[in-house]
C-alpha cells in the first residue's frame, strides 16, 4: 500500500510540475508574442523614408521648373524646401526617428543631406525665379542625395520586411507551442484523471473492506461485552445463593472456629458479589450501554447515604470515615445521583480495602457549576502511590488487576458524566483525590405538603422523615392547595377520601402511606416502615 501511495505522490507531483512548466513557458511565449504584435502594430517607417525621397524629388522638380523658365515661383521653391526640411526632422525625433536612424548609421545620408540644406537655406530663402546660377548650384548640391535616399528606402523596406518575417515566424512558433502544450496538457489531465479514478476506486474498495472489518470488530466487542454482562449477571444468582446458605449456617450454632471460617467465607462471597457488580458496570460502560440520568436530588441525601453504605466496610477495615459538606453546597442539584454515589463509594471502598486507609475524610463542595469531592486518605504504610490507578489512562486501563476494577469503573462513570478525577499534592504524606463533576444547581423553593394522617404519631413520623427538606406543611382544611398530599391509607372509606382530595386539589400529587386498597390510584406509595430515601427522591422530583 505504501508503494502505491508513493506512486500517487510522484504522479501528482509530476503532473503539477509539468503543468507549471507548461504554464511558465506559455507565459514567456505569450509575452514574446505580445511584443511581436506591438512591433507589428508600429508605424510603417518605410513610408516615412519614401516620403523623404519623394519630397527631395519634388523640391528638385520645383527647381527644375524654374530653371526651365516656367512658372515655378520662389514661394513654391521655399514651400517645397520647408516640406523637405520637415521630412528630415522626422528622422530626428520619436521612435520612428530612432528606427529610421538605425538603417542610416553607416551612410548617414540623412544627416549629410540635413547639413547640406542648412548650408543652402540662405540661397533658397533669397532665390528669385530666374536666378539660374543659384538654382543650378542648389540643384547640383542636392542631386547626389537622390540615389542615396533611394538606396536608404530600399534598405529600410527590406529590413522592415525581414523584421516582419521574424515576427510572423515568432508568432507561428508561439501558436505551434500553444497547440502542442494544449495537447500535452490534455493528455496529462486525461492520464491523471484516469489514474485518480482508478486510485479512487481502489481506495473506495479499501474503505469498504475497512468498514466491514470495523463492523466485525464492533460486533465482536459487543459480543464480548454481552458475554461479560451475562456471565456476571448469571454468577450473581449462585453467589446470592451462597450468601444465603452462609447466613443460614451462621444462624445455627457454629463453634468459634467454624464461625471464623464462615465469616471469612461470607466476606469473600460479598467481595466477589461486589466484583461481579463492578464487572457488570464496566461491561455496560465499555459497550456504551449505560444511560445517565439527569434528575433533581437533595445533596443531603447523597451525603447521608454514603456513611450508611460504606459504614460496614469502614468498620471491617477498622478505619474511620467522615463525610462533611462545604457551606456553599446547594440544597438541590440536578444530575445522576445514583452514579455519583456509586463513583464516590467505589473510590472510598478501594482506599479502605486496598490501600489500607485508617482514616478517610470526604468533603463535598460546589464550585463554578461543579460538584467537588475531596477525598483525603490517611493510610497505614507510607510510600504507596495511586499513580498507577489514577495516572495515565492507557496504562491503567490495560494493566489493571482485580483491585483496581472499582476505581476504573468510578473513573469511567465520572468521565461519562463529563467530570474528572485528579490526584492532589500533599506534604503530609496523605493522599488527596479530587473528583469534579459538572452538576447543575437547582433554584430552591419550598414545597407545600399536606399531611392527612389518622393518628398523631403517624403524622410525627412523616414530618420527621422529610423535615430536613425545604417543605412547608399546610394545615388540614386550610385555604389553598398543597403540591403533595401524604395520605395515610388502610382505613375504611379511603377511596372516597382520595376522590375528595383530587377534587379539591386536582394538580396535587397524592402519596399513599401504608398499604392502600387500590395502589394504582396513588401517585406514589410508601409502605410502612417508611423508607426516607425513596420519599425524598420522589419529593425532589416534584421540586425539580
Amino acid at each position: 500500500m505504501a508503494w502505491k501511495r508513493r506512486v500517487s505522490k510522484i504522479v501528482f507531483g509530476g503532473v503539477i510540475t509539468v503543468a507549471i512548466g507548461i504554464a511558465a513557458t506559455g507565459f514567456v511565449i505569450f509575452d514574446r508574442n505580445l511584443n511581436a504584435m506591438q512591433q507589428a502594430s508600429q508605424e510603417n517607417i518605410a513610408w516615412s523614408a519614401s516620403q523623404l525621397e519623394r519630397e527631395l524629388a519634388r523640391f528638385r522638380d520645383s527647381l527644375g521648373v524654374s530653371q526651365a523658365g516656367r512658372s515655378s515661383s520662389s514661394a513654391n521653391i521655399n514651400q517645397r524646401f520647408d516640406v523637405l526640411w520637415s521630412r528630415i526632422a522626422i528622422f530626428q525625433r520619436g521612435e520612428v526617428g530612432e528606427r529610421l536612424q538605425k538603417y542610416d548609421r553607416e551612410t548617414n545620408v540623412v544627416g549629410r543631406l540635413f547639413e547640406e540644406i542648412k548650408r543652402l537655406e540662405v540661397d533658397v530663402v533669397s532665390i528669385s525665379s530666374f536666378d539660374f546660377t543659384t538654382l543650378a548650384k542648389i540643384h547640383s548640391a542636392i542631386y547626389p542625395y537622390s540615389a542615396e535616399l533611394s538606396d536608404l528606402s530600399r534598405r529600410i523596406f527590406v529590413g522592415e520586411e525581414e523584421n516582419a518575417a521574424k515576427v510572423r515566424a515568432q508568432m507561428r512558433q508561439g501558436a505551434n507551442f500553444a497547440l502542442y502544450a494544449s495537447i500535452l496538457t490534455g493528455i496529462l489531465v486525461l492520464g491523471g484523471m484516469i489514474y485518480f479514478v482508478l486510485e479512487g476506486q481502489l481506495f473506495r474498495k479499501m474503505a469498504h473492506e475497512n468498514m466491514v472489518l470495523a463492523e466485525r470488530f464492533k460486533q465482536a466487542s459487543l459480543a464480548k461485552s454481552r458475554f461479560l454482562t451475562m456471565m456476571s449477571h448469571e454468577l450473581r444468582t449462585p453467589m446470592n445463593g451462597v450468601l444465603g446458605l452462609l447466613a443460614v449456617a451462621r444462624n445455627g450454632e457454629p463453634d468459634p472456629a467454624q464461625k471464623t471460617l464462615l465469616d471469612q467465607a461470607d466476606r469473600s462471597a460479598n467481595r466477589m458479589l461486589a466484583m461481579l457488580t463492578d464487572i457488570l458496570d464496566f461491561a455496560a460502560l465499555e459497550n456504551a450501554g449505560l444511560a445517565l440520568e439527569s434528575k433533581p436530588f437533595f445533596t443531603s441525601e447523597l451525603l447521608v447515604s454514603l456513611p450508611e453504605l460504606l459504614g460496614p466496610v469502614a468498620h471491617q477495615a477498622e478505619a474511620r470515615l467522615t463525610v462533611t459538606q462545604a457551606e456553599n453546597l446547594p440544597v438541590m442539584l440536578k444530575g445522576d445521583a445514583t452514579r455519583l454515589r456509586r463513583a464516590y463509594a467505589l473510590m472510598i471502598t478501594y482506599f479502605l480495602e486496598t490501600a489500607g486507609a485508617r482514616e478517610i475524610d470526604l468533603r463535598v463542595g460546589y464550585n463554578d457549576g461543579h460538584l467537588n469531592a475531596r477525598i483525603l486518605v490517611d493510610y497505614l504504610d507510607g510510600g504507596w502511590s495511586p499513580d498507577l490507578i489514577f495516572g495515565d489512562r492507557g496504562e491503567s486501563n490495560e494493566s489493571f488487576v482485580s483491585e483496581v476494577l472499582g476505581p476504573s469503573v468510578a473513573r469511567a462513570l465520572v468521565e461519562r458524566m463529563g467530570g474528572e478525577i485528579r490526584l492532589g499534592n500533599r506534604d503530609d504524606g496523605k493522599i488527596l483525590l479530587e473528583i469534579d463533576v459538572p452538576v447543575a444547581a437547582m433554584e430552591m423553593r419550598r414545597l407545600k405538603v399536606l399531611l392527612d394522617m389518622q393518628s398523631s404519631p403517624m403524622e410525627m413520623i412523616c414530618k420527621s422523615t422529610i423535615s430536613d427538606l425545604p417543605v412547608d406543611f399546610l394545615e388540614a382544611g386550610g385555604a389553598g392547595c398543597a403540591e403533595v398530599v401524604m395520605m395515610e391509607t388502610g382505613m375504611s372509606g379511603e377511596t372516597e377520601k382520595l376522590a375528595s382530595i383530587r377534587k379539591k386539589c386536582p394538580s396535587a400529587l397524592v402519596f399513599g402511606i401504608g398499604r392502600p386498597e387500590m395502589p394504582e390510584l396513588y401517585d406514589f406509595v410508601a409502605e410502612v416502615p417508611l423508607e426516607a430515601a425513596l420519599i425524598k427522591t420522589r419529593l425532589s422530583e416534584v421540586l425539580g
Binding site: 502594430s41 508600429q42 508605424e43 510603417n44 519634388r58 516640406v83 526640411w85 520637415s86 520612428v96 526617428g97
Partner: protein, 160 residues
C-alpha cells in the same frame, strides 16, 4: 445651456471668418470646405486661435516622450463648417490626404494642434497644424490606422 452657447459662438466665429476684409489681412492657414452645403471658408492663424483651445497630453511615435499639444478640437471645426457630414478629408501642404470619420472627433478629443509644449509649429516641423489623437489615454488608438491619421502640415479640411 452650454450645448446651445457653444454652436452659437462657433457660428459667430464662422461669420467673422467669412468676412473678406479680415481674411485678406492675414495669410490663410486652414481652408474649411463643406461639400454638402458648398460653404468654404479660409481661416487665418488669428481666427484659428480665436476658437476654443484644448490641451491634451499624449505620446506618439513621432515625439520624444509625453507632449502637451494645444489647439482647437476637431468636432468644433466640424461644427464651424455647419456639420452634416460623416467624414472629413484632411490634406497636407504636400498634397498628402487622408479620410477620417467624423465619429473620431465625437468619440475622442482630437486636437488640431498648433503648438507642442507651448512651442508653435513651423512649416519645417509639423506646422501650421498637426492633427493629434489622445493615444496615451486610449490604448485602442495605438494602432497604425490612427498613426496614418496623425496628418501634419494640414492646410485643408473638407467635410463630406
Amino acid at each position: 445651456m452650454t450645448r446651445l452657447i457653444k454652436p452659437m459662438l462657433i457660428f459667430g466665429l464662422a461669420l467673422i471668418a467669412g468676412l473678406p476684409r479680415v481674411a485678406a489681412a492675414q495669410e490663410t492657414v486652414l481652408t474649411l470646405v463643406n461639400s454638402n452645403t458648398g460653404i468654404e471658408m479660409a481661416l487665418t492663424e488669428a481666427e484659428l486661435m480665436a476658437l476654443p483651445q484644448t490641451d491634451i497630453n499624449t505620446e506618439n511615435e513621432f515625439v520624444d516622450g509625453m507632449t502637451r499639444f494645444s489647439g482647437p478640437l476637431g468636432r468644433d471645426l466640424v461644427a464651424l463648417m455647419g456639420g452634416g457630414g460623416t467624414s472629413v478629408v484632411l490634406t497636407a501642404v504636400n498634397d498628402y490626404a487622408v479620410e477620417v470619420p467624423v465619429e473620431d472627433f465625437n468619440a475622442y478629443d482630437v486636437v488640431f494642434a498648433v503648438s507642442a509644449n507651448d512651442v508653435r509649429f513651423s512649416r519645417r516641423d509639423k506646422g501650421p497644424i498637426w492633427v493629434v489623437y489622445p493615444m496615451s489615454d486610449n490604448k485602442e488608438l495605438q494602432d497604425p490606422v490612427y498613426n496614418a491619421r496623425l496628418i501634419w502640415q494640414l492646410v485643408r479640411m473638407e467635410l463630406k
